[in-house]
Every structure is written in C-alpha cells, then in structure tokens.
Subunit: 348 residues, 3 copies
Amino acid sequence: MTTPTFTVSELASLLGAEAVVSDRPIEGIGTLQSATETQLSFLHNARYQQQLSASRAGAILVRAEHRDAVASVALVVADPYIAYARATALFCEQQDAGVSSISPAADISASAQLGENVTIGANAVIGDDVSIGAGVTIGANSVIGCGCVVGENTRIAANVTLYNRVRVGASCFIHSGAVIGADGFGFADDGGRWLKIHQLGSVRIGDRVEVGAGTTIDRGALDDTVIGDGVILDNQIQIGHNVNIGDNTAIVACSAIAGSTRIGKNCTIAGGVGIAGHLTIADGTHITAMTMVSKSILQPGVFSSGTVMEPHQQWKRNAVRFRHLDEMSRRIKHLEKTVKQQNTEGQP
Amino acid sequence: MTTPTFTVSELASLLGAEAVVSDRPIEGIGTLQSATETQLSFLHNARYQQQLSASRAGAILVRAEHRDAVASVALVVADPYIAYARATALFCEQQDAGVSSISPAADISASAQLGENVTIGANAVIGDDVSIGAGVTIGANSVIGCGCVVGENTRIAANVTLYNRVRVGASCFIHSGAVIGADGFGFADDGGRWLKIHQLGSVRIGDRVEVGAGTTIDRGALDDTVIGDGVILDNQIQIGHNVNIGDNTAIVACSAIAGSTRIGKNCTIAGGVGIAGHLTIADGTHITAMTMVSKSILQPGVFSSGTVMEPHQQWKRNAVRFRHLDEMSRRIKHLEKTVKQQNTEGQP
Amino acid sequence: MTTPTFTVSELASLLGAEAVVSDRPIEGIGTLQSATETQLSFLHNARYQQQLSASRAGAILVRAEHRDAVASVALVVADPYIAYARATALFCEQQDAGVSSISPAADISASAQLGENVTIGANAVIGDDVSIGAGVTIGANSVIGCGCVVGENTRIAANVTLYNRVRVGASCFIHSGAVIGADGFGFADDGGRWLKIHQLGSVRIGDRVEVGAGTTIDRGALDDTVIGDGVILDNQIQIGHNVNIGDNTAIVACSAIAGSTRIGKNCTIAGGVGIAGHLTIADGTHITAMTMVSKSILQPGVFSSGTVMEPHQQWKRNAVRFRHLDEMSRRIKHLEKTVKQQNTEGQP
C-alpha cells in the first residue's frame, strides 16, 4: 500500500481544473478547517465561504466566483464536489498496479479460473468452477461459492460470503460481512409446520455496484434477484428474494426490501425504510428515513410516514390520543352537523 | 453438486399427485410464465389461472378443478403450493449422499467428536469438546466454539459464528454471517460507568430451525436463551438474552426482540418489528411490519402501530398536528360542552 | 477454559460484602428461583423479596434490610446488582492467565508487533504494521487490517473485521460479525451516476468500549469516526462516517446514527432508534425505542416518536385519519370560531 504525492500543478491537470504553476507537494485531503499546507481542500457549500481565507490548505478546489477568496492556490473547477470525489481516488490507499498477489494460505479450487493481476487474501476460499476477472481483489477469509462469476476490477473485502452461482459485475465493491445469495425466506404452511421452499434462483449484480458492510441480498426462489448497474447500497440493508433494483438507485443503511418488489431507476431511499413485498416503486422516487411503504408508488415524488420526535411526556399524551383518532374525527363531524343546525335554526 | 432429472411420472409419484404416464424429463422448476418444456410449474393463486393454457411448462401442479385448463401434463394434488415446496427439495443442489468430506484446511480440535458423513469446509474452526452429529455440514471459515453441540443433518453455512457451549438441534439451517451466543447486552450503572455483567448462560436451539443471514442470537445472562422447534428466523434479526421463542413461530427480517421476552408458539412477526424486553406474547399472535410492541399481548390477534406513507409535504403538515393531538382532543371536548349548552339554552 | 470455585467466605471478601464464615463451595450464579445450593444469587428488585426465603441458593447478595429474610447465607452489600455484576466476572470462562497461545494456523505479517501474552485463534489474519498490545485476544478467522492498533487486554471475538488503520483502545470487547472501518457511504451525483468518494479517514475507539455482534462502524471521509471511552454498543448498530460518540453513552441494538452526528456523553439510546446526519445530541439525553431523531437535541431530556400498538383493525381506522390530521385541525378551528360567534350573537 502506498499513498502518492502530487504537485498542485499535477492535481490541477488530473482534476480538470484551470492550469496553475505550483510545485507545492500535496499528500492528502482535509476540510477547510483542518487541512495543512500539504493538503488539498475544497469549497462545496457556499455556507463555508468565510473559511476560505483562513484555511491553511495548500490548494483549494473552488468555483470561479470564489477564486479570489483563496489565500493559497485556487484550483478552479466547474463542480468542486465532483473534483473532490475524483481527488479521493488519487489519495486512497492503492495496491501497486500490475501486481498479482495470491496468498499461499488461500484455498482455491483447481477448477476456478482467475484473470490477470488478481489479488486473493489469506484463507479466502474459492469454490469449484468460479470465474474471477482480471484485476479483482478478494479479501482475507472471504468465501466465494461454487460457480460464482466476479467481473473485472471488482473488490471484495475481507469476510464476505457469496453463496453458489452468484454473479457480480465489473468494478463493484462489496464490503465485509456482506452475504449475497443466502436463501430467500420462503416457507409453506404445512398444517402448522413450516415446509422449506428451497431457493433455486440466484443473485445477479450489475457493474459499479457498492454493497455495504453487513448487507444481505437473498437468492431468488425460481428466478434471480437482480441489482442494476451503478446501484449503491449502504450497510446492513436487507434485500429479499426476487427483488429487482433499477440502475443508479441509492439505498441508505438499515433499509429492508421485501420479496419480489421492483424498485425503479435513480430512486433514493433513506435509512431505516421498510418496503413491503410485491410492490412497484416508480423511477426517480424518493423515500424519507424510517418510512413504511406498504403500497406501490406509480408516480415519482417524495414520500414519508411516521411521527416527529418530541419530549417523552408530551409524546405519550399525543400517542394515547392517536388511538382515538377515528372517534375524534366522528365527533368533529357530529359537531359540524349540530352547529350547522343551530345556525339554520338561529336564522329568522 | 449435482442437479437431478426426473420423468413426469416419477414426479407425480414423489409429490403425491394422481398417477400419470409420461417419460418427459423434468430438470427444474419455473413460474407459469417462464417455465420451459423441461420444467415443472404450479398454480397456487387462482388469480394466475388464465396463464395455465399459455404456459410451456412440461408439467403443472394444479388442484383437480384446474386439470382441464393445463395444456401439457396436469399433476393433480390437494395443495399445489405444498407440492411445489416439496419439489424444490428435489431440484436443489445436493451433496452426494453418504460422502464425508472434511477439508484438510479445517482446524478441528482433537477433542471434537464428529458423527458419520460430516462435511467441513476449508478453514472452518471446530473448538475443544465440540460434538457434531451425523450428516452435518459446516461451511468454510465458520467457527464453532468450545463445547458446542450440533444435531444431526444440520447445515451451517460459511462464515457463521457459534460462541462456546451453544446447542443447536437436528435438521437446522444456519446462514452466513449469523452469530449465535455473543454476550447479551448486560451492564450495571456503576456511578456513571458501565460495569459489564458477564453472560454466563448460553443458547439452546431446537430442531428444524432456520436462522437467516446476519441474524444474532445472544446468550443468556444466567439461564439460556431458547429457540423452540420449527422456528424460522429471516435475515438480520436480533434476539436478546434470555428471550424464549415458542415452536413454529416465524419472524421476518430486521425485527428485534429485547431481553427476557417470551414469544408464544405459532406467532408470525413481520419485518422491522421491535418488541421490548420482559414481555409475554400469546401463542398465535400476529404483528404487522414495523410495529413497536411495548406491552405484553395476552390474547392473540393482529396488532399494528405506525402511520401510513403519504406525499412528504402532506405528511409534514399532519406530523406537525400530531404533536397537538392531545390539545385537539381537549378542544373537541370543550366544543361539545359549549354546543350542548347552547342547545339547552336554545330550548324553550 | 476453567470455571473456578470459591467458598462463600472468599466471595464475601472478593465482592466487598460484610465478612461471613462459610466454607460452602460456590460454583456459579443463578436467579433466586433457579439457583442451587452451590450457586450464588442476588436480590436486586424488591419486587422479588418474597422469593428470598424459598430460594435454595447457597448464598444471596442483599442489602442490609433484607438480611434476615435469607434462608441460607446473606452476603450484605451496598448494591447487590453491582456486586452481582462483579461476581459474573469471577465465574465466566477464563483463559489461563499468563499463557500466550498463538495458533500456528494464524496468518501474521512479519511486520506486526505483538505484546506479551497475546492469544490469536486459528486462521486469524494480522496485516502489515499492526500493533497488538499485551494480553489481547483475537478470535479465529478475524481479520486485522494493515496498520491497525489494538490496545492492551482488548478481546476481539471470532469473525471480526477491522479495515486498515483502525485504532482500538484498551480493555475493549468486539463481538463476532462486527465490521469496523468499512467505507462511509459517500458518493457525489455525477450527472445521474454515483461517483465514489473514497473514505480517507479511519476509526478511533476509546478504552473499555463494547461493540456488539454484527455492529458496523464506518471510517471517516477525511477525519476519523470517534467512539469515546466506556461507550457500550449492542448488536447490529450502524455508525456512519465521522460520527462522534461521547464517553459512557449506551446504544441498544439495531439503532443507526447517520454521518457526522455528534452524540454527547452519558446518553442512553434505546433499540431501533434512527438519528439523522449532521445533528448534535446533548450530554445525558435519553431516546426511547424506535424514535426517529431528525433535529438536534440541545437540552437533555427524554425524547420519543412513533405511535402505540393497537389491534390491527382499530389501528387501520386511526392511521387513515392521521392523513387528515391537518384538515381535522382546521375544522376544529373553524368550529371554535362559529360557536364563539353564535355565543356572541346569543348574548342579549
């Protein structure tokens, strides 16, 4: 692992900023407040504009309008946040390119096929007939089940589990503790006992998908569970069997999607959301945190449920009234009727 | 791993259908819409009845009343869904019967006792004094702590953790990422610092229990945490210390049961439910998704909490009013009193 | 692993009770109802006072006022619950002190530094430049990434993952399935595609921290995610990037804290709570189960949200009305106006 150094001039070129001449070495990235003279920073939110002049950062990514407020070197770009994201790729720990490193302690089936420049950590287990693309990294103690296919340049962290026949696309990143392809929760009620429905489908994951730590994606009952290209899943998400998630949808931590639900493209689903099974969610839908979705959403929009936090004693009094809400509604209706009648009777 | 083929006649016999004569080979199962001529299908929900005639499936499990609508071969059974569940067991990937396979890369204590036909994956770790029944499978990289007992024909997938002294019954299936027997969350407040209460009990799991991926079942403080026979637990469920779950209860993903709660038999608890500690839930209780259970349920029924999803702006207006619900209730009461008085005064 | 035996006299001395003379051997701890004559018990909650006389426990920890109700030997202490917590440390399974045990099947980098009396389980993987303090235990199949630092006497259970450069303090306990230092969920919207923001910070965990099974703590984007001293985290908690948790705060299972939120000291956060990002929660705040926190809490108190469980059909009627709450409020206001007008008109 090495962390590279760039000159400010090189960074300007690599990040698509207006050219500058500066040999100052930059070794990392910091916030406007914390960055040192050998770090890059950026101004994304105009709210922090007043921090520009005081920042000690060696160079700062800004839009043209903020160029003059920078004390050190301004790197002028169209979108400083995108440029910052690109910069993180330059400064993150990288394996030396073109080096293949397969731990002698890995347990790799003779029938597995490995592409070029594959890295496999200690005690990783690669099953029969697995196909691993070029440039793939598989972390220590991960288990790749028989017949799995892993696309080029995908990174699988330590302690990941892929059950048999799971297919993962190219340039994905699967984090530790993730379990992909475990059985969907399918059981038939056989006179009070649960009869297991073995899950014969599998999981297909597109390209450029991120799967967070501890996230579980179940295999399909007959057909496959499908995750589209560019989908990003945070930690501890649960995806039920035969769910289908459209391209570039983002789901935040601790959300759960029940079986056979289809989620469109470019949706954003906040944390702790629950979506019932067999629903359809339109492309471009946004769901706020901890919402319970029990009906399909056929037109995109922003959707919510729940109540808002308040002091406990006050909440308790209100929550008790919630259980009388239907009665309250009837009483209002009755009052309206009575008052209207009185008004009419009061007329001359 | 092999996937077997059956003739339609054989399937009729194996699944308890009315006898048919057909040598057509069947190699798998599909939905009515997707099944090919070498696949079995089934009609469970009468809603899909019109798909029967168009289905290309080589044979279809149906009730007698739908026999004539089947274009290919009807396999007439009393309950097509149960027959389908049984068929999935025929077509799932199976290890060759009677073959014991213990990876040389597994780390097995000399004091562990293994039954016949046990399969243990690479890098699995089996602690001292463990007892493993006949026909058990333990996946790669799983850890079975000292003194654990695993009953016959139980399957433990890859990357599972059993802490010391956990007892698992026969014919269970424990999925990857599950952690059984970690410490219950017991701490005493020692003047502002938390003093750990070491958890001296363990976990006992009955027969035919399914434990989903990433599910955690904590060991008891003094006595054991107990999971009854035939209980099915989906993914990412949290079971606190000293919880007791009755036979054949089903719990869906991401639910959590706090310490010392007793859940009856044959309950169904949907996804994302939270149940507080030290409660009793009656046999046969049903709890809907994302419900917060903070009181015991002594008579079975269906129980719910929460609010229903709506467009965000509308939700916001309503959620603000929730915080005035108690006040609204008082105002209605006051109005009723005033209006009643007016009515009385209005009398001649 | 050995479980020690003590005489009642020894226990009195070890637990700070009034001295007693009794050679009775005590081998474990039980509840008042289940304890045998060779077990210790305790009376914490006066509600169980009537069980004292019937208990078969060999010795019972009580406050002075309950001394005479004990049939066997009363061990009089100021706080029986604290004394019980201390007793659990005496009776839990212990590794033999002063014995270093490093599995030959562990995979330890030559550049890792190990303190004295370190225990490392089979197939654990210890990366380059890791520093492990004296008395540390690392469980089987755990992975400690490059550059990690683990403080003295910390226990890391089996199947734990620490990503690169994570720092864990002394006397911590990290349970199985925990993942510390995975990437925070940071992505920039690059014209409809998600551009990954590589997470360059790490995670710093204080001393005496407990991390439950399956809990995930993400590394920071630029700065570190920080967990204070004495923090206790239950199972399946999600801590987002750059979160800061103050000393001695307790968080119960399945709660989630979104990125950059600062939680004060000595807070208690119950199970299933969700806290949005970029908030500040005051020292000493208490949040009840399944509450959604979407605003900062600047003054401590007890806070809640949600509705209370009720029979499903009744809930359904009330939940429907919730969506008309704003309208109901307006109708009440209108009624009040009308009735007030009638009252005024009715005046002579």
